[in-house]
Symmetry: C2
Subunit: 199 residues, 2 copies
Amino acid sequence: MEAAEIHFADRGFEGTSVRDIAETAGVNLAMINYYFGSKEKLMEAMFARRSAYMTLQLETILANREMGPMEKLETLVDQYINRLLNQPCFHRIMIREQMMNSNHMITEQILQMKRTNSNLTRALIAEGQEAGVFRQNVDMGLLMATLVGTVGHIVSTQHFYREMNDLGEMTEDEFRNHIRGKLSSHIKAIFKAILSNED
Amino acid sequence: MEAAEIHFADRGFEGTSVRDIAETAGVNLAMINYYFGSKEKLMEAMFARRSAYMTLQLETILANREMGPMEKLETLVDQYINRLLNQPCFHRIMIREQMMNSNHMITEQILQMKRTNSNLTRALIAEGQEAGVFRQNVDMGLLMATLVGTVGHIVSTQHFYREMNDLGEMTEDEFRNHIRGKLSSHIKAIFKAILSNED
DNA sequence: TTGTTTAAATCAAACATTTGTTTAGTTTTG
DNA sequence: CAAAACTAAACAAATGTTTGATTTAAACAA
C-alpha cells in the first residue's frame, strides 16, 4: 500500500502500472491481485486505512472542555496542516481523486468523510456563535475550501513555492517545518479575520 | 481540443484514450495523430491555446492608471474567478497537471505562466506598499495559494459544496453566478484583511 | 526427532484487452 | 491531376488479471 501511495501520488491512479507498484514494493506482480483482488481494490484498501484516524482527531477536539471555540478552531487548523505535511502522498491522491468521478467507492468514501467533518465543524462554529465570539452568517463551505484549498495547493506545488521564495537549498524537513509555521499563521489570520466578532 | 479537454478534465490524461476523444469529437481515430502528432502533443496544443490570453489580461490591469492598487487587486481576483468558472475543464486539468511531473513540456509551461503572473502580481503589491495602502512583509506565495487553492477547490468539488448548502436544484448557470459572487467577496475580504494597512 | 500432509504463499508465464501509433489505400478538394 | 484530407485495418507495446506449478510453513502422527 505504501508503494502504491507513492506512485499514485505522482503519476495518478491510471498513470501507474501494477508492475511499477510490485517492483518498488519488492514483491511479485501476482501478489497484488492475490492479496487485494485488483488494482482498484488496492486503492480502496489504502483509503480505508488512511481515513480511519481522520474523523477521530476532529471529534477529540470538539469534545474538549478546556478550549474556547477559537482555540479549538486553531487546533483544527494546525492538525489539518500537520496531517497534510505528514502524509503528503495520500493527500495528493485524495485531492486528485476528489475531482474525478472515476471510482464510485472512493468518491463516496471521500464524500462521507467530508460530510462528517463538516458536520463537526459546523457544530464548532455554532458553539462559537452562541458564545458570541464568532460572527453570524458564516459560509462554512468557503472557509473550509480556503483551508483545504490553500494548504493542498501549497503541498502539491511545493517546488514552485520554493523557487519563488529562494528556498531551494532547504532540505525536505527544513522546508516542511518552515511552511508549517507560515501556513499556520496565515490560515489562522484568515479565520480570525472572517470569523471573529470584534469590529 | 475541446473534446480532449472534457475528457482530460474528468478522467485525467492517462485515464482517457485517444479513441474516446475521437468519438466525442466525431472524427476518425487517425486524425488526431495526423493533425497533432501524438496524444501528448494534443494536450500541449490545448495548453498553448488556453494560456495565450492569460498573461495578457493581467498585464492590462497592471498598466491601468485609473485604478488604485487595491482596486487592481480586486479586479485581478474577479478575473481569476471568472476565468476558472468559464473554463472549468481546462483549469481542472491544470490543477491536476501541476501536481504530477509527468509531462515536462507542460509543467514547464505552467511554471512559466506562474512565474510571469507572480512577477506581475509582485509588482502590483510593491506599488501598493509604496503608496502606503498595503502592509509590509506580505507573503505573496501564500496569498496566491489562497486565491488559486480556494477557487480551484470549490470549482473541482462543486457537487459537495452544492450538497452542503442545499443548492442541488440550481441549474449550472445559476450556481455559477451564485458561487461567483460568494467567492468574489470571500477572497476580497481575505485579501483586504491580510494586505490592508489600516490597523 | 522424524517423515508426511495440507493449505497458504509465491512465482514465472501466459492471457486477453486496451493502448497509442502507423500504414496503405481511398476520397475529396482546389 | 496532385496534394491534402480522411479512413479502416493492422501493429507493437503495455496493461490488469489469471493460471498452473512450485515453494514454504505449520500441523500432525509415528
